[in-house]
Amino acid sequence: METTETLKNKVAIVGAADTEVGVVPNLSATQLYVKAAKLALEDAGITKADIDGLVTCTSFVEPFMYHAEMIAEYMQIFPRYCMTVPSGGGTTLAIMHHAASAIATGLCHTVLITMADSQVSGLSRDKAIEAMAQAGHPQFERPYGPPIPAFYAMLARAHQHAYGTTDAQRAAVAVACRKHASLNPAAQMRKPITIDDVINSRLIADPLHLLDCSLVSDGGAAIVMTSAERARDFRKRPVYLLGTGEGHSHEHISQALSLTTSAAKEAGERAYAMAGLTPKDIDVAELYDCFTPVVIIELEDLGFCAKGEGGSFVEGGRIELGGELPINTHGGLLSHCHPGHPGSLFSVTEATRQLRGECGVRQVAGAQIALVHGQGGIMSTHCTAILGSERV
C-alpha cells in the first residue's frame, strides 16, 4: 500500500495519566480535563509552560464551541497549535495522528492531549444514553427509535449470520476485559464474570446482552507528546509512535457498504505500512470495545485472524493475559470505564504503561510493541496507532 506520509520514529509519548474513573461526583467535566492534564504533565516532569500545543475532544456535558481554546484559557496556557477534534471513539487516535503531524512538521514541539467527560455525574445514565443516540440520522434513522446498542446489535447479527459467531464467543470478550479489570485497582467494574453471566444477563438489543455493552462513566485521561529528539530529556522512558493510520467509511450505519468489514482494515494497513510491522509483531493490543462484537470485527480487520475467524480467535483465553494476544489489559470500555469521546485515550495511557513495564500484576511480560485502535460513530471513523518501547 502506498504510504503518503511517514511519522515513523519521529514522535514519542513522554507523559500519560488517568484521573479516577467510574462515578466521580466531586469533579465536573472541565475539571476532569484539567486534572488529567496536570497528572500527565507531572508524569512527564514538565510544567504547563512547557506546552506549546493543545488538542482536545469536546464534551457532551460541558460543550464549548471552541473547546480546546476554552481549556487553554482555563489553564492559562497560550499554545501556538490549538485544536478540537470530534470523531467519536476514533477521536483519540486521530488526535494523536494530528498532534504527531504537527510536531513532525514543526508547527509545535510539545503537545498536551487531554480528554474527559462526566457522563454519569454530569448527565445521568438515562440522559447519557439518550444523548449518544443522537448519533442516528435525524430524518432517516432516529424516527425508528434505535438506541446505540441496536446499531451494534445489527452488526453482531450480520456477523453471526455470515460466519456463525456465537453468543459465547462475544461473551469471551467481556470475560477477558473483566478479568483484566479485576487486576486493575482503577477499574470501574472489577468482579470477575463468566461466559454464562454474560449470556444470562438481560437482553438489551438482540443478540446483545447487558454485559456485551460498555459502561457509562466519568473520567479523564491525558498524554504529552513531543519529538523523538526531545523525548530523551523527559523524566520517564519515551514510548515511540511507530505507525498510525486512519480509515473513514461512513457516518450513518444504514449507509455502510458492509456490516461485517470495517475501515479498521484500511486504518490498520496504513499503520502497519508506516511502521514496517505486521500483526505478528504486536505484543499487546488495546482495542475499541464499546460492544463485544466490535472487538471480534477489529481482530479480523486488523489482521490478527482471517475474516470470519474472530469468534473462534477470542476463545480459550487467547486474548487474556498469558494468551497469544492479550487485549484491553486495563479492562477496556467494557470494564475499566467509558466516559464517551475520551474512551480510547485510556487505551493509549495503558499501552504507554505496558511499554514502560509499569503494570504490575497485569503487565504483559516483555511487551515492546503495542497496537491501539479506536473507532467512532457506528464503526465509521477508525484510527490505529502502533507504539513501541524502542524505535524500529
Binding site: H137, F140, P143, G145, H161, I253
Partner: protein
Amino acid sequence: MAEKIAKPIPEPTLETRPYWEGCRNHELRIQRCAACGNYQFFPRIYCVKCFGERVEWIKASGRATVLSFTIVRRPVSPAFKDDLPYVVAIVTLEEGPTMMTNIVGCAPERVAIGMPVEVAFEDRTDEISIPMFRPAGEATS
C-alpha cells in the same frame, strides 16, 4: 396522566422534501441518476456513482429484503416504551440502496436476515408518514 412524550418527527429540508411528500402519499421515493442509472438513498444533490447532476426522484417498488435487524428491549427514549419489544432493521431495497426501518406486522421473533418485506407507512402526524416494512405478500390486518 403525564403528557405523552412524542416520537421523533422528521423535519423535511429543501433536499428531502420530495421524499417526505412521497411518504405522505404512501409512496416510497428514492433517487435515480438519469445519466448512469444508479439508484441512491439518502437524497443527494449529485449522483454518488458518476457525480452527475441529473438525479431524479422515482417511485421505488417498495420491495426489500432484511439485511440485518435487532429486537430492541430497552427503548431509546420513553416515547418508544409502549412499542417494546420492537424491531429495528436495515433493509436492502430492490433497487439496491439500504435504509433503516422498523419491521412491523409480525412477531419480532419471525424476522430473519434475508426475509422479503414490503413498505407499509405509519402516519405519525398529518404531514409526516414514516416508511416501515412488513413481511411481503401478507394481507394487512
